[in-house]
Symmetry: D2
């Protein structure tokens, strides 16, 4: 399987982990998801991210999920391997790279504060995982409380040659994309593939700022693909983005966002169940009605959202 | 001037503080803002909030701003008086209540952690300010890092009789509104007026959940008024809300949100300058072009956004 | 092997994990440590705590360390199993309980804020691990940023019957011990064994307040035993405690504390090497000279500290 | 009055603010304190620090306290002026410098994260206060959650010429002192006076590492003077430090530390009352008995601690 490169672009779909009502991993739904992602034109799949309920999986479950997906698809697969220590990170990385993963993604522990601490942490990651494993730097201050200035991202890019991609989910983050592309143009850092997360909330402008695409798990990845590939159809890109924004915003709520996503994916027929393992956010009947209402409104503007009730 | 009550509803506009290019308070623009707010149907005005750059004002400037606004309007005026200690809070409260303010708003210091610490803090506030000063509880975990469960809000409402309003900006927060209204229905807490902040990002559903309105500073308060007063025109409310959502989301970015707001208000002719005092977020030319683009798109759906270039 | 009970008392030594200069687990030194702990009168051993470098161990290394120690000693062994999710926690717990551990210790994830979140987390832990696994609640706000009021500890004790011990390392914490013992006397919570951590910095008074002993890793556990068993010799207890306090304080520094501890244990002949796995705190030559100086001064008051240079 | 310089040394006593039982500022006790500080050989006084209950004082009270103390003493007086915004900071600075203060001390707001944010904040402080006001940089991560690497301190020292002193209370912090002195020796930053806070918990070694003295409020400043001036009597310095360490440690507890300090100062006859304004930590009778016990033990080693019961 090809390794992740600095030239990666498009949409890497962050896959949820399907469970059945008893809490077992639902591999049938996972297969369906993978086929779906391929059918809508994503260019990669990300497994075991935070929204993949990775901490709720045993090591064996985690590696089996990765192995199965790698047997089903030829798309590059990125695997989240964040862990409190380098040892567990190395174990999982070793297993998933052997199975054919394209690279691994590492979020910073939320105790890091100074610039040097952050850079040093990623130097340690690379030393622990080995130089040959492509690394995705996850920059998500809202969730991890670690704030990386553009200069720190540039320092990491210089100091860690295996770091080839930035999962960009700073907020606000548009200027950061511009700053990084300016650094690259000035020869101050090697190029990084920049894929945007943060639920896609600013994807309409992120692409225009120079991002290579998206890495997020919004329940209609078709829209993400539309926007990322629509650089020469600006108005149409904004139209489809804006049509989805009310639902996208609703899905992006901390704590219950994954419940929203799984609920819609179940309604779309992709997941047999929207069950999560504990701890989980739960949708009230009022919340489900609100989502149904948003879907109905969206269906008028994007026929792909016309779901059978 | 009438005091704030538990029955308050509608839209309380959080006013920015206008400065001229030299950094002096621009009272002409402030007057224009107050007239504008009245003209669009807001039911109250909030001064010296975080988005009012309160910490950048001297005590004299702050009290003069409040006094002036109170001379210009008969709308109830809420004043932000958050401070690291009760002494400064009491001084400012005393001055603004004497000038005719309807109540004061207090955010929690970000060192509070346990339920008891939070409740105790607001008991201390009431003891410091006196029972006769109507108090607005500001619940904004994203900004203050203080997390109040619905039970804690209910405890504060019971323990602090002068607390009559919740500025609700938890995220996600829809279930919290429902939980509080359920508590009230069950007789477990006195009624609070609930006005929603958080930039208005969920206002479409917050009103349906039982909120009494909005307290936020979005650059088109007309839309907030439309949504809050549109309870019997659900589809139309969502239509106008959704039309504004791309811009609203852009304005709600931490750090640069106020720069966006002031830029649009300047373009609307409300502010003579979009200057902020330091420390300030600054808009790049790319950012201004993005805002202009969003305004142009919005203008097609809401003619009030058709601004002269 | 007997399970941990609410009546546990004495000193549970938190063992460091010995490594050789190449970073491999040094089982010879570990054996020596266990024999040493038994020889000085500790009543239990804690493995895989934060100071045991647990996150730097692979799952296999962690379980092998526990198995080996359990073959060498009949003392009750508590194992740290904190993990970002319940799945990994359950896996490790299952393995170490099968090997004969007396119980497991769980620290709260540092995202918990409200009282309900904290109680709910430990209810979830008990549900994940099963009711038959004795649980040690680790209350260490300085390190984990989670603040538990005495009422929250009492709620956990009531809601989670398998929780039998509190590792108490709040700071300040003397009043918390008194409050918990008062709750117990009033029948408001079941008894917990309270063993004090926080480097032992307040052990002199903690015992007088009602703690059952210590669970910490100070490099002279003999002193901890002296203080914990010296309840009827108050002055002597304080004398020996005060003699060690300068070194104890030096060892308790965040970040480099473990380096200090391993350095002294190497000088005492207990560890073949003071190596740590990355990331690690490193002692400068000035720091080592300071420790040597403190040891020399201590040696005049406690002959057990008269080490060969 | 002379301004603070980079050559400042000795002990700057952080004065508590005395209140009477009704909560009024007790100027008689304050006068007594100032006389006492002079009598024991301190080289400066710090007012309105966190331990001076500054946030509980009105602006008028704060400025009156500073004015009074400046009339009573010729020692240099540093005033804490930390505030949420530059405006209040500038107002207080202007007033106290006009009254004769030697300089002001500013702690960082706890929202700062990146190196650039921290440096930028202090550049903004200097711009707000003016270049002629000597500035003390307060580096206290345990209390403010802002972590400054030695490189950041050096950057501030270079970027802000008016910054002449570091109040050093990082923990652990010995290596930071050495690193800063090494930077100075290498010409990479201008000299800073380094006075150590953190309750004096590491003062014995801080002086040996190159600190110029202490700025803290321990209830026996005589000991601080002994240690700081005892560089040529190393053993005696450690003896007196170690004798005080059990009490010093007890006083250094967060939350109740000031209550301990005021209690001892009252027992010493320096304060008429140990009252604090709300919010306050309160000593239980058990805590007071513990302090009395520590004082009795200390009195055997340091006759200055032999207090009348």
């Amino acid at each position: 399987m090809a390794l992740l490169t600095r030239e990666a672009k498009g949409v890497f779909a962050i896959s949820p982990t399907p469970f059945d009502e008893d809490g077992a991993v639902d591999f049938d739904s996972l297969r369906r998801l993978v086929d779906f992602y391929e059918s809508v034109g994503v260019t990669g799949i990300t497994l075991l991210g935070q929204m993949g309920e990775a901490p709720k999986l045993s090591h064996d479950e985690a590696t089996r999920i990765v192995s199965q997906v790698l047997q089903w698809t030829r798309l590059p697969v990125v695997v989240g391997v964040s862990a409190p220590g380098y040892a567990a990170m190395r174990e999982l990385t070793s297993d998933v790279m052997a199975a054919g993963a394209a690279g691994v993604m590492v979020a910073p522990p939320n105790t890091l504060r100074t610039d040097d601490q952050i850079v040093g942490y990623y130097e340690g990651v690379a030393a622990a995982l080995g130089d040959s494993v492509p690394l995705v730097l996850q920059d998500y201050p809202l969730s991890f409380s670690v704030v990386m200035s553009p200069k720190v991202v540039a320092r990491i890019a210089r100091a860690v040659p295996s770091c080839v991609m930035l999962k960009h989910e700073d907020w606000p983050g548009l200027e950061k994309i511009s700053a990084l592309r300016d650094f690259e143009a000035a020869g101050e850092m090697p190029r990084l593939s920049i894929l945007c997360g943060n639920g896609g909330l600013f994807l309409d402008f992120e692409v225009e700022r120079g991002a290579d695409g998206a890495m997020t798990g919004y329940c209609f990845p078709e829209m993400l693909v539309d926007v990322v590939t629509g650089a020469d159809r600006i108005e149409e890109s904004h139209d489809i983005f804006d049509a989805h924004l009310p639902l996208l915003r609703y899905e992006q709520q901390p704590g219950i966002g994954l419940a929203v996503r799984k609920y819609v994916m179940k309604r779309r027929g992709l997941l047999a169940s929207d069950a999560q393992r504990a701890p989980r956010g739960v949708l009230s009947s009022r919340a489900r009605a609100e989502i149904d209402y948003l879907l109905a409104r969206l269906g008028r503007l994007d026929k792909r959202a016309n779901l059978v009730a």
